[in-house]
């Protein structure tokens, strides 16, 4: 299902809106998680204080990121791990492939990691003859079906059990084995298949939810146990972490482990959280590598207003409350990061030429900002990025939108011009039609809505009439 050329959000969204199964599944998923999140947040009386602490710790970290990364490197090294620096995805993939090859391993088991998807890790490994097996149930479903994720947290939500049954029957079932569509039975099949991998593959790859600079600790938050499997059983472990994942101190974890589970799955705590520092003799991998990934994050950091985008802890709370995402799903954003956070992160990572429609994929309703556990002011960052899109338009000569908005600004600049423009809009009777006979962009309105008649008298004309003693309107 992958596209090589982007359609842009309006066109991609239009397609997605017609996918009735996607809309039912995503609608049900987001409504369910929304309700769960609201309930566990209601329970706490210090939620706003936690959010503020989360925001502030991230601000402190980002403003001093170089120092914290240096500290992280020193701590991980002191704990027996090795730190690598990757400017982009290609470098990160090359580092990991090199480690696998140094251990003569043609297989890797991996935990779900958005960063690895961002850098197209699986494809890069495949190109070097290394099989990277996804071990999250949803990621496994996506991988076996050669599909793409549609949600950060429940990536296969656009698939129903019948489709998954058919997929597993085709790819996982033994000769003659009949697979039912009971979720428990499907999970059991996946469990057996993956257990064989967990017990045999020597190299594991994970992402990181948090990296603690003070102690060199990596933290992975999960539900199924495959994260524990991949980070404990293999002889060699590699963690790929975006540079914005670092936190200053061990104690800072208390804030984020209080914020993340309630914001993402709507639970007081997720089933499993793993914390480790480097290597520990007699327990777990004998070799640990941390790959610190830039891949555009330093560009995001450079914009001192949009920098707050990097506060993100990938909880997906914003996706679950977004009325746009609920109706279009993730594929319409044509990015590893969909939804409100995707609309601001993706354009900053891949550039506005690639993703210039995403900052407009929002009605600016503000629901995302309300639920963001680290207080990213997504609506304001969207408007800020729109400014950057417009700056590019201004470089072109005679962009119609720029011309129209400049004309409007001119009309608003003095009372005389404004009142003349008002009379003109009435005179043309353009808006008086109410049917589909208006030109674009207004035709986008009348496609689904009637337009009101332009009144024959403006408010200010009525006001003046009143002052002159001509009675009320």
């Amino acid at each position: 299902m992958s596209r090589t050329e982007r359609l842009g959000f309006p066109a991609a969204a239009r397609e997605a809106l017609a996918d009735t199964q996607l809309r039912r599944n995503i609608g049900k998923a987001t409504q369910t998680i929304r309700a769960k999140r609201a309930a566990v947040v209601e329970e706490l009386d210090d939620w706003e204080e936690l959010r503020e602490a989360g925001r502030a710790i991230k601000e402190r970290t980002l403003r001093h990121l170089p120092a914290y990364l240096e500290q992280l490197e020193a701590s991980v090294t002191a704990a027996g791990g090795r730190v690598h620096w990757a400017r982009d995805g290609a470098e990160a993939n090359a580092i990991v492939a090199g480690i696998a090859e140094a251990h003569d391993s043609r297989e890797i088991i991996k935990v779900k990691s958005l960063a690895s998807d961002e850098i197209k890790f699986n494809e890069a490994m495949a190109a070097r003859g290394i099989s990277a097996w996804e071990t999250d149930l949803a990621e496994l479903i996506i991988q076996l079906g050669d599909d793409e994720q549609s949600h950060i947290l429940v990536p296969a939500i656009h698939r129903n059990r019948a489709e998954i049954r058919e997929l597993f029957q085709r790819t996982l079932a033994a000769e003659g084995e009949q697979v039912t569509d009971e979720p428990a039975a499907l999970a059991e099949l996946a469990r057996k298949h993956l257990r064989r991998k967990f017990l045999s593959v020597p190299v594991g790859v994970s992402g990181a939810n948090f990296c603690v600079a003070e102690t060199g600790t990596i933290c992975v938050v999960e539900s199924e146990g495959n994260g524990r499997m991949c980070t404990t059983l293999p002889r060699v472990l590699v963690t790929i972490a975006g540079i914005e994942k670092v936190l200053p101190t061990w104690g800072d974890l208390e804030v984020f482990l209080a914020l993340l589970p309630r914001s993402s799955t709507g639970e007081r705590m997720n089933p499993y959280t793993s914390l480790w520092s480097g290597v520990t003799e007699g327990d777990g991998p004998e070799e640990f590598h941390l790959v610190l990934l830039d891949n555009g994050r330093s560009d995001v950091l450079a914009d001192d207003f949009a920098r707050q985008t990097l506060n993100c802890i990938r909880c997906s709370a914003c996706l679950n409350v977004c009325p746009v995402y609920e109706r279009t799903g993730g594929h319409a954003y044509e990015s590893v990061y969909p939804g409100p956070i995707g609309a601001i992160l993706t354009p900053q990572l891949v550039g506005l030429d690639e993703a210039g429609t995403l900052p407009y994929a929002s009605s600016l309703c503000g629901a995302c900002y309300e639920v963001c556990p680290v207080k990213i002011d997504i609506p304001s960052v969207l408007v800020h990025l729109r400014g950057k899109v417009v700056a590019k338009k201004r470089e072109k000569r005679l962009d119609p939108e720029v011309a129209a908005l400049k004309t409007a600004a001119f009309a608003f600049s003095t009372r005389g011009r404004y009142e003349r423009a008002q009379k003109l809009s009435r005179g043309q009777k353009v808006l008086g039609r109410g049917r589909g006979s208006v030109p674009p962009p207004l035709s986008a309105w009348t496609g689904a809505r009637d337009l009101p008649e332009v009144p024959t008298q403006t408010f200010r004309e009525w006001w003046r009439g009143r002052a002159n003693g001509h009675g009320g309107g």
Partner: protein, 242 residues
């Protein structure tokens, strides 16, 4: 009190009845209403679409026009929200400290209509009579930027003869979003479909809100589908008498 009206370019041109109602209502309550005629537009459309240079010019103009006004009322949650919430950001982007001070002082003097009535004039029963079944859509700016809470509902509950019905999923955006409605018309329409569905479920004759922009969108959809339900601005309900 002397109250200055910030009518908004949108209401001035397309919904003058809302401005008239605001004036009638405040005068009925015994206040003096003035209208600085130099006002044009607060700059919200330009700002939200990414034209902050043009918006900055409109911000400066607005600050000048309303410089001497102590109490400013606005029958639009989104425009009041623009002044209170976005004007500081415009000043910051323009790197203009003096403008930043001016807009900071201005913010506390601008009131959306329900805020003015309940907080400043301390009135909930405005003496209105409106014998219709009405449901109320809170609008995103009123809800999340201005945080007016239940002020509009308290005002509506006090209206004699009204049959006020609660709107399901009222906090969900109607899908207008300014230029969003024309840049992403399909998603906008999908969101509108659900808002209309909830409005129709109330069997209300009238859907009201504090913003004519949202009402134009919702009303446009209700009319296109021949639903027999119309939209009326909050000010017009509160101004109605026997």
């Amino acid at each position: 009190m002397r109250i200055s009206l910030f009518i908004t370019c949108f209401n001035d041109t397309l919904f003058p009845r809302t401005g008239q109602a605001t004036v009638e209502l405040l005068e009925r309550l015994g206040h003096e209403v003035t209208f600085p005629e130099e006002q044009t537009c607060c700059g919200q459309m330009h700002f939200n679409t990414g034209y902050s240079d043009e918006a900055a010019a409109l911000v400066r103009r607005f600050v000048r026009v309303f410089a001497d006004e102590e109490i400013i009322v606005c029958p639009s949650g989104s425009c009041a929200g623009m002044v209170r919430d976005a004007y500081p950001r415009v000043a910051e982007q323009a790197g203009d400290d003096q403008l930043a001070n001016e807009v900071a002082a201005l913010g506390s003097r601008v009131f959306e209509l329900s805020e003015l009535l309940v907080d400043k004039l301390e009135v909930e029963d405005v003496g209105a009579y409106y014998p219709h079944r009405v449901t109320y859509h809170p609008t995103c700016h009123s809800l999340r930027l201005l945080r007016v809470g239940d002020k509009p509902l308290r005002l509506l509950r006090a209206v004699r003869g009204i049959d006020l019905v609660e709107l399901e999923e009222s906090r969900e955006c109607c899908g207008f979003g300014g230029t969003f409605a024309v840049k992403n018309p399909d998603v906008s329409t999908a969101m509108l479909a659900d808002k209309i569905r909830h409005v129709l479920d109330t069997r209300a004759e009238v859907c009201s809100a504090a913003d004519n922009s949202c009402l134009m969108h919702i009303g446009g959809g209700l009319a296109r589908l021949r639903t027999g339900t119309r939209t009326v601005h909050l000010a017009e309900i509160l101004a109605a008498t026997e």
